[in-house]
């Protein structure tokens, strides 16, 4: 894998140097005809932006699902495409989202924080909503992460009792979790209401 990466980068470097040579030639030509100088500037700028935008990162190699650290608590999306789980890799305990179709990890900006442990993930139909347990203010709370708006909502703020093991319905409207409110484990259901955007499989 390292070798292929190295080959790719050298190839890219070679192409880039060729491009630079070409640009230098162009600039020499342009010097002879100052009339075209302003135009060439624009051309160079647009070319540069093109190069930046199209910088090849190499064909995305499939990422492995497991690591040599503990990977646990799997949760599947409704269509079976996404897999959320908890991993101890990278020196911290985080929730990761893996795309089983493209075999790549999906970024979850703002979800994993350094000062909180996230646990017990569960995901909706297309993994738009992720519910999990996080120690928000030193107390475990059921939280909901929206991958589209990149926002986190604490669903059990002000709730009396210990909470554990949340699970979200495929459409994202209902969440069940365990509660210790009556001195034993019971099941409680949260309704997010009719106003929310449901996570439908057809994307409508």
């Amino acid at each position: 894998m390292l070798i292929t990466k190295a080959i790719l980068t050298t190839r890219f470097c070679l192409q880039f140097s060729k491009l630079l040579n070409f640009l230098a030639l162009c600039s020499q030509a342009v010097k002879k005809f100052p009339f075209y100088r302003s135009l060439s500037r624009w051309l160079a700028l647009s070319l540069a932006s093109f190069v930046v935008a199209c910088t090849p990162t190499g064909p995305q190699e499939p990422a492995g699902l497991n690591s040599r650290y503990t990977d646990e608590q799997p949760a599947l999306s409704g269509d079976g495409r996404y897999l959320a789980f908890v991993s101890n890799r990278e020196g911290s305990r985080n929730i990761l989202l893996y795309d089983l179709k493209s075999r790549q990890y999906v970024n979850l900006p703002l979800l994993n924080r350094r000062d909180a442990i996230a646990d017990s993930p569960s995901i909706s139909n297309t993994a738009r909503y992720i519910v999990y347990i996080a120690s928000d203010q030193g107390r475990p709370e059921v939280e909901l992460y929206d991958r589209v708006t990149r926002s986190i909502q604490v669903l059990t703020r002000g709730y009396n009792g210990w909470v554990r093991n949340p699970s979200i319905s495929p459409d994202g409207r209902y969440i069940v979790f365990e509660t210790g409110r009556r001195g034993q484990w019971d099941i409680e259901v949260i309704d997010r209401g009719p106003e929310i955007e449901l996570d439908r499989l057809d994307g409508v």
Partner: protein
């Protein structure tokens, strides 16, 4: 004069009352599910654990019958659904998950000192051991809402790793270990 003041207070009270009443319908809110001491509902005097919701179904584990079994609750009809053949006297069942149509339930079953992942087919009432040939400790199974993909943890490599299989028990083609 006094009457007018009382009247004003009445209106004020009415406004406050209506305000608090309408704020009660704010979402997200906790739904009230029936609690039955006889064990015929979602919650019972026994421990009810590991709930998983999929569409109209909530599947969970409970020791309400004096042993740890799997139960399926219908959200819409608000009743427990019979699962003939899923719970055995010699098996500790835990960590269930159900597909959206309620036809497939996966769970962890511990029998004769060995823990395996079982798939229950509700229409045919058949129970299938998905990890019979796997020489590893397994736990925490889950099934996708469409019922086609199953994932669980296996300790085959000396640590917990995640395995993904289809409903027939075949492994999905996923690059495994990244070292």
């Amino acid at each position: 004069m006094q009457f007018k003041i009382i009247n004003r207070f009445f209106y004020l009270g009415a406004i406050v009352l209506s305000g608090t009443l309408s704020s009660c319908s704010v979402y997200p809110r906790i739904l009230n599910f029936p609690y039955d001491p006889g064990g015929r509902s979602l919650n019972s005097p026994a421990g009810d654990i590991n709930p998983q919701i999929s569409g109209r179904y909530i599947v969970f584990g409970s020791d309400r019958e004096g042993r740890q079994d799997i139960y399926l609750y219908d959200n819409q009809d608000r009743r427990l659904i019979d699962l003939p053949g899923i719970n055995a006297l010699d098996t500790i069942a835990s960590h269930p998950a159900v597909s959206q149509d309620g036809n497939y339930i996966v769970f962890c079953g511990s029998r004769e000192g060995r823990t395996d992942i079982y798939l229950y087919n509700r229409p045919t009432r058949q129970l299938r051991n998905l990890t019979e040939s796997l020489k590893a400790e397994v736990r925490n199974p889950t099934i996708s809402a469409d019922g086609n993909t199953i994932s669980f943890e296996a300790g085959a490599q000396g640590q917990w790793n995640i395995m993904v299989i289809d409903r027939t028990g075949n492994g999905l083609n996923i690059p495994d270990v990244l070292r």
